[in-house]
Amino acid sequence: MTEDRGRGSGSGKHQMTVFFSFLWVLCLVFCIQPHVFAEEYTFDISEIEKKPYYLGGYAEVKPVLFWLDKNASLYKMRFYNRDEGSKVEEYDAELQLEGAIEKGISRLYIVTNTQYRDSYLGEDQKTILYEGYLSLKPSVSLTIDLGKKTLKWGKGYAWNPSAFIDRPKDPDDPELSREGFTVASADYIKSFKGPLKTLSFTPVVIPVYNHISTGFGEVNKLNFALKLYLLFYDTDIDFIFLTGGSKTTRYGMDFSRNITTNFEIHGEFAFINDYQKNYIDRDGNNFRKEYNAKSYLLGIRYLTELDTTYIIEYYHDGTGFTSDEMKDYFEFINKGYNSYVSTGGDALLKTALNVTEENYGRINPMRDYLYMRISQKEPFDILYFTPSITGILNIDDGSFSLSPELLYTGITNLELRLKTAFIAGERESEYGEKQNDCRAELRIRYYF
């Protein structure tokens, strides 16, 4: 334990030095940029020549500081055998590479994501193929994709209950790239005159076998999904269907429409047949409940004359845990912690860790949430500067998180984001039992 802390602290100082050196170099490079490139604007035709290949992506560094809540259940579960003090540092780095090769009607597209993390748990690095698929486009009406792909279905900003073939979003950072699943899909598009302007039809086959689309659901199953999209009376409408055995059969729909030029409404609905929920009681006994789950989301996006954007969403997750089920879970952790303190045995806490990873640890595990994001574009005439604040309220238990952030994108291809998050709630509430009270991070991302 002491060794870990000592190594972490030394490594932290080293990382901090490297990080600030990197920051200084960036500042020097970009502060002199306007003077170096202060020539007249030009537009050379060679700038727009199409190449048969493409390579790009981004690199980012992100130091994070967490202030711990030592009385929280999740702190007790993860830190019961270590003392990290009142705050922990973490240093994240990420490299996302995107490449494409195009020839005739075919295009091969690949996205890889490499993440490095130096935290109180030590160093960790992983590389994941986020997407890698061959796309065939015999006509503008038809596209066929084969390989690993992120489908991004649904209309919600923070949550997508009808995105049956996507990994869940993190509502705290919904615009992060996500890993896809291996699929064979097609898009057929047809346009019309009249109130129905567009109709598109997307059948998808999702094979789930060992090492193929793991994490999607039960293995050794071939799944089939369909999406029907309509632009009908200026409203985007999707009807979605998934069946096959890896997950129970489910039906979804979503819509989005501009009421005025600055006011948009959207919604999603999902019906899941025979959803199986696994949960535990306060003594750690396992239970399984099977029922038809209904999830839905209703949201708006509103832009004021002063360029303030409001995104508000209400989300009901029919697969989520009730307040009583979550209380049982937290009480089981506390029981495990008390047992560890009195006997030194951590078997119950390890069981709690397992059920957390399998089930309770999902990003928003409960039933009813309210999301609100307010962002102000370019206040005080500061171009490319967007401060915003995001709040997520768990309606069931009244706990919440509040995340102010400052985003600056004024330097070509460089994005600077300073973000903090404060969480609060009663004991045995979702946010009240998180291991941190507060988090601060600086993300520096460079696109190339």
Binding site: I48, V140, T143, E175, K190, S191, S200, N413, Y447
Partner: protein, 242 residues
């Protein structure tokens, strides 16, 4: 009698000058700016008061009165993003992030003085009625009013060269005639296929004092597209049209 006859003759020759068909004139101005269906390459440059600038390169396709789509080619942070406009509906697609989201005409996907409506400009005649046409020296002044409340600017004052019927200056106004921004059309260029039009559009705004945005056209070419190109489903594939 000859005097009366002469007066009638003068009236007959003078009448056409006062009977300018504003709508027809606006349609001619639209056609002189762009073919009805075309592809183009543009660069948008935002210039801050201190001289710092940020550039964006776009590939744009348009069909008919109400369909336009644009794909960002650079900078790297924006590459692959695309925007689509179908009449009053606008969407933004960001690769790797999510599905196309609805955006509004008054927002700006690039920041700076140009908003989404300026970047995904439809024909002026598609969005505005001509209220009045004035003649001043070598220019026409067209007073335009938005056909619906969903149009980005309530009023537009468009100055056009009388001979070439090409805009020289456009003032975008609120309902109460307050100036929102001014577009200056400069540097006429022959793009081929009888397309001769300003290759540079500069804009400034009293709302963004000291800031300037510039749009430079490198290439405009007549081209026809199928309607399916202008759909949400096709947005990730606009690059394949290049």
């Amino acid at each position: 009698m000859p005097k009366i006859f002469g007066f009638i003759l003068v009236l007959m020759t003078a009448l056409p000058a006062y009977a300018i068909d504003g709508t027809e004139l606006l349609k001619q101005i639209d056609r002189n700016l762009n073919p009805e269906s075309y592809e183009s390459y543009r660069k948008l440059i935002n210039i801050e008061p201190g001289g710092r600038k940020k550039e964006y390169t776009l590939f744009t396709v348009k069909k008919g009165l109400d369909k336009v789509a644009a794909l960002f080619l650079s900078p790297a942070s924006e590459k692959g993003r695309s925007t689509l406009r179908l009449g009053d509906n606008m969407w933004l697609y960001i690769p790797n992030v999510g599905k196309p989201i609805r955006i509004t005409s008054l927002q700006s996907v690039v920041g700076g003085v140009f908003n989404n409506s300026d970047i995904l400009q439809l024909d002026y005649a598609a969005e505005y009625h001509v209220e009045k046409v004035e003649e001043k020296g070598s220019e026409y002044i067209l007073h335009l009013k938005a056909k619906t409340r969903t149009v980005a600017y309530d009023r537009i004052r468009l100055r056009a060269d009388k001979n070439k019927k090409i805009p020289t200056k456009i003032e975008c106004l609120t309902e109460k005639n307050l100036l929102i921004k001014t577009l200056y059309f400069k540097e006429a260029k022959d793009f081929g296929e009888e397309i001769i039009r300003p290759s540079v559009i500069e804009t400034d705004s009293p709302l963004y004092k000291g800031y300037k945005s510039i749009m430079i056209y490198a290439k405009i070419k007549k081209r026809s597209f199928r309607d399916e190109v202008f759909t949400l489903t096709f947005m990730p594939n606009i690059e394949s049209l290049r």
